[in-house]
């Protein structure tokens, strides 16, 4: 889909090198001559794998960073796998290069070269995942992109463990060849064993690797990792936004599609970045919100046109079932358009100081409207002098083949997903900016009928509540559009199915869990992440008390999940940075049970107008 490196590129490279190392290890010459080198390079590979395990959070060990796995089977796999891998690494430590060596030895053998390349690929893969995360001064991992919740989700974590298990199996197989070869050589020579210590350590390390593979395989058998979750993990790109570009005359259809998808990603990124600064950011004005909603109206309008066009084309290509599906998606796009138009018009009654043209989010959203317009319409130079109806791109021109239908569906899927995120982040921005008193209404159009020497008044809370209601409708319509297109994307095996997988992964607490996470995939700002998959209060207490019964831990997790759901529903009504909610978050984070029980819950019936204008505590999320 894009030219950016993905985690799958690194993981596949590592797996390929390990597989090649295994085939080389079958050579008798290789085994006898390079046993020491094999151990040395294996130690480097184990170091790289250990760092992956360090990223997992284990409830029983009460770590507060990295990835979390709420299912006890996978938690056990992390705990025991980490221990076994560490034992193997310790066994091979005498063989490793000095970590501070200025000129580390290059491998002399092909098998050593393969292991060195594998460890480099593993390290690159981990670094790639970490481009989406950062660690704050309290050693808590914080997301830096929309992929962060996916990376730290239980399904993606389990998929990563599965990959580690496969690597362990390949390494065990290679190492076992060296172990057997050395043993056979000693039997033949029947003299003093050469490098007996190294041989024994390698054998023990291979046993540990075998155990790692077995533990992870066992977890996978009992709680299987879905293929879609593995595909999602492998699809995670490096956190480098695509360059900003506007459509050019010479762009081909493929260029326009890719441009639209890249632009959609830029919009989501801009929305995410701007969300935390809504209180004070000068570029966040009623004008910027107005322009953003207007562009969203245009985007959904263009998506409706694109979907109707490909619906017609699907029927022409002999796929009538897709036509009905895509037509329904087009209708959903029209509903979304109407909702966003209402949102855009709702800002006409407000005013705000500041310059909308400073808003990166408004600019990026306008760009996406341009990209989708170029795809939807046949003639970029159309004017009203040619008639009131603007010709859309003919179906056979927009999508000559079924592959093109698939790609257009992917474009609309990305655009719809972007509209959903835009609605969520706009809601947050409006609340924040409203609390800071940044919205005004022109008194010339004020409905109170009172003559006022000021040309504007502070926007009444009731009016802002109306706007929030309108955005809620826009979000709902955009979500429905995304879901409608998701069905077509899945049926066509479109590249955008990762969107559906990502939304599903961040809702689930573990590999196939019928009890879905709260229906709130609100895209968190960079300093607040969704809490799906996080071990809760009761689960932690049971783990600390030494409870290992999976059923008991499951029951505790269910109780914590219901509590989180109640809290989420309540904070939807209260402001996200409500002081009481922040205190509750902090108390949970510190794991102080008694104080958590005595803290008052946030007022569930407060609206913007009823809130106290208090300065909230800085919100920090943990993974």
């Amino acid at each position: 889909m894009t030219s950016r490196a993905t985690f799958g590129d690194c993981a596949n490279a590592a797996s390929g090198q390990l597989a090649r190392a295994l085939s080389l290890a079958e050579s008798p010459t290789m085994r006898t001559a390079y046993s020491a080198e094999f151990r040395r390079e294996l130690s480097h590979v184990l170091s790289a794998m250990e760092r992956y395990f360090d990223d997992f959070t284990i409830p029983a060990l009460n770590k507060r960073r990295g990835l979390r796995l709420s299912d006890s089977r996978w938690s056990f796999a992390v705990r025991q796998g980490r221990r076994q891998l560490h034992e193997a690494a310790v066994l091979l430590k005498p063989d490793s290069d000095d970590r501070f060596a200025i000129h580390p030895r290059r491998p002399a053998s092909p098998v050593g070269d393969c292991l060195r390349s594998a460890s480099a690929a593993m390290a690159a893969g981990r670094d790639l995942l970490h481009t989406h995360l950062t660690v704050n001064d309290r050693r808590i991992a914080v997301g830096r992109s929309e992929w962060a919740p996916v990376i730290t989700s239980a399904p993606a974590s389990a998929a990563l463990l599965l990959g580690l298990g496969r690597w362990a199996r390949l390494l065990d197989a290679s190492g076992s060849h060296f172990v057997r070869a050395t043993a056979a050589s000693q039997l033949q020579n029947s003299g003093a064993p050469q490098d007996l210590d190294g041989h024994q350590r390698l054998r023990a390390a291979c046993e540990s690797l075998r155990e790692v593979s077995r533990i992870i395989s066992s977890a996978h058998r009992e709680m299987p990792v879905a293929t879609s979750d593995l595909a999602l993990l492998y699809a995670i790109p490096v956190n480098a936004p695509p360059a900003r570009r506007l459509p050019a005359e010479r762009d081909t259809r493929a260029d326009l599609r890719q441009g639209a998808i890249s632009s959609a990603e830029r919009v989501r990124r801009a929305a995410r970045i701007s969300a935390p600064d809504a209180r004070w950011a000068p570029e966040l004005t009623a004008a910027a919100m107005r322009e953003g909603a207007a562009s969203a109206t245009a985007i959904s309008h263009h998506c409706a046109i694109l979907l109707r066009t490909v619906a017609t084309r699907a029927a022409e290509l002999g796929n009538p079932a897709r036509k009905d599906e895509l037509t329904r998606s087009a209708e959903a796009a029209e509903n979304a358009r109407d909702s966003w138009l209402t949102a855009s018009r709702s800002w006409n009654q407000f005013a705000a100081e500041g310059n909308a043209e400073l808003s990166p989010l408004a600019a990026e959203t306008a760009d996406l409207a341009q990209w989708t317009e170029r795809l939807a319409y046949a003639d970029g130079a159309w004017s009203l002098s040619q008639g009131e109806a603007r010709p859309v791109r003919p179906p056979e021109s927009l999508a000559p083949e079924l592959d093109d239908v698939r790609e257009i569906v992917a474009v609309t899927h990305h655009a719809a997903h972007t509209l959903s995120r835009l609605a969520v982040d706009s809601d947050h921005q409006i609340r924040q900016a409203a609390e800071a008193g940044r919205f005004y209404m022109p008194s010339r159009t004020s409905s109170d009928g009172i003559s006022n020497w000021r040309p504007f008044v502070h926007a009444p809370p009731a009016q802002l509540d109306n706007v929030l209601g309108v955005y809620k409708d826009a979000r709902h319509a955009s979500d429905q559009l995304t879901d409608a297109i998701a069905d077509s994307a899945a049926a066509l095996s479109s590249s955008s199915t990762t969107i559906t997988a990502a939304r599903s992964a961040t809702r689930r607490k573990g590999p196939p869990n019928p009890e879905a996470a709260p229906d709130d995939d609100r895209m968190a700002p960079a300093n607040r992440l969704p809490r799906t998959g996080m071990p809760g209060h009761f689960e932690l207490i049971l783990s600390h008390l030494g409870q290992t019964d999976p059923e008991a831990l499951k029951r505790a997790a269910a109780i914590d999940h219901l509590g989180e759901q109640l809290l989420t529903d309540t904070t939807r009504i209260a402001k996200p940075t409500d002081l009481a909610v922040d205190m509750y978050d902090s108390i949970r984070e510190l794991g102080v049970a008694e104080r958590a029980r005595t803290q008052p819950a946030p007022n569930p019936r407060r609206t913007i107008g009823e809130r106290e204008r208090t300065r909230p505590m800085e919100a920090e999320a943990e993974l």
Binding site: A287, S295, H301, R345, N348, A351, L384, E388
Partner: protein
Amino acid sequence: MELIATALARLEGATGLAEIFSTACDAFELMLPVIEEQQDPAGGAFTSFVIAATYAANGRDALLFAPSLPAGAAHRTPPATQASTIDVAIELTRLCRLVDTRLTHAAALAADQADALACAQARRQASRLVSLLTGLTGP
């Protein structure tokens, strides 16, 4: 269309900074319902008029923060125009050009920096509207 003609006349006849601000602000305010009436999803100019409404509202907002804007009632009434989309676009373009011209004059009169800034920002929005609408009407 009569409303646009009235706004044109008021703007042309405005003298002094306060009156120019007032009539220009009213012109932007009046554009909104005219533009909204043209926001027909079935029409080819739908998205252009959606965007145009934002520019008109932005222009009004810019003038609202001008210290020299006098208090007064808004002149906003819903239109019931029978004119074609292209005619509406042409008339709106005329109005925006006049707003731009009068605000240029007002900027020369403005002693307050805030008034000058309001002029510049409102002119920018009028200019964006002219660009959008002339692209819509074609050569």
